[in-house]
Amino acid sequence: MNESFGNIFINACLVNNFVLAYFLGICPFLGVSGKMETATRMGGAVTFVMLISSLCAFGIHALLVAIDAPYLQLISYIVVIASTVQLVEMFIKKMSPALFRSLGIFLPLITTNCAILGLALFQTNKGYNLPQSFVYALGAGLGFTLALMLIAGLREQMEFAEVPRMVKGTVLTLIIAGILSLAFMGFAGLGNG
């Protein structure tokens, strides 16, 4: 309950990285991590939606506790996330068509990204208050972007390497992700102090 903002941030971003430690958001992770540019944009879009849906989830949780209907949690979260994505899409389209074009198909796909729903559920389970939830969402989003960019960078380099035909594609990405996950274990204990 009384974790400091720094701890929450480091925990969400590095120690319990959503992709490499919790395995959330693996689908876009495998799908769009081929190029650095798309990976960065995807990360940005996910972070943005995470921030908004985290705030919404906080409000819904308070409301559901007030009307004593916890069994509606999952259904209302997913509906809110889907409509948030839709709203964000319309808003960006209106305000900045250039950004909208560059995000393309990734924006609607965020709805089925488990990292977003996972974030909403985790923050409720941990009982964070409003500012804490915001920091948690920020950390998780930046951690997701970091992991995506690291993989994209490594995969761009591997394009030119000679690997056996069987290993190319998903298998290679998974092996790289495994090694990265090992590396991220080095952060364990950082967020406790």
Binding site: Y22, G25, I26, L74, I75, V79, F122, R165, G178
Partner: protein, 211 residues
């Protein structure tokens, strides 16, 4: 008369073949884990023991079967524009039921699976079956398709969970397999081990496909 019989038989047998095929393809040819690589989040996250993997697989299979049946029986009533939202609502309902059922059956299991039961909602496998199969077919083939795909998913999860538990813990369903001196490979039950094990299984499948 004979001809009629034959035609009837032929129809029957083709119908049966189609039904069996809807069931079989998910188990092997279009296996969701090894071939389609769908719904990876729970596959990697809860496959650290054979028991967890099996429970997660069965829960997903149940949700998949129920939502496929409901989607296919409602397929003529759901308007095209609102279909994805309706599917997600249907799936979320069954996931909530499953969540509470698991909590009632075993609190320990519920604790070890944690938030990943709720995350079945966003498993792309379920939504993709609703969209690609159940929305176009009648109830029985949809159920068979769900059972086949769910079975394939259970199989994939179980393969991963078994390997990770045997190597990472030296046990299988909690039973010790190795003599005293065995040093378990801790890395296999850590997140990294999930990536490595899945990579290994995909490698084996690729090898088999290339041949």
């Amino acid at each position: 008369m004979l001809q009629k019989d034959n035609i009837a038989k032929g129809k029957d047998s083709t119908g049966r073949i189609a039904d069996t095929d809807a069931f079989i393809k998910g188990l092997w040819r279009e296996n969701p884990v090894f071939v389609q690589v769908l719904g990876m989040c729970p596959v990697l996250a809860v496959s650290n023991s054979a028991e967890n993997a099996l429970a997660m697989g069965l829960a997903t299979m149940f949700v998949l079967a129920m939502s496929n049946m409901l989607v296919s029986s409602l397929r003529n009533f759901i308007p095209k524009q609102a279909r994805i939202a309706s599917y997600i609502l249907i799936i979320a309902t069954f996931v909530t039921i499953t969540d509470y059922a698991i909590q009632a059956i075993s609190v320990d299991l519920h604790k070890s699976l944690g938030a990943f039961i709720s995350l079945i909602v966003v498993n792309c496998l379920i939504l993709s079956r609703a969209e690609a199969f159940a929305s176009k077919n009648s109830v029985l083939p949809s159920l068979l398709d769900a059972l086949g795909m769910g079975g394939g998913f259970v199989l994939g999860l179980f393969c991963l969970g078994a390997v990770r538990e045997i190597l990472g813990n030296g046990t299988f369903f909690g039973l010790a397999l190795f003599p005293e001196g065995f040093q378990p490979w801790i890395v296999m039950i850590l997140p990294a081990g999930g990536f490595f094990t899945l990579a290994l299984w995909l490698l084996i499948f690729n090898r088999w496909k290339v041949k």
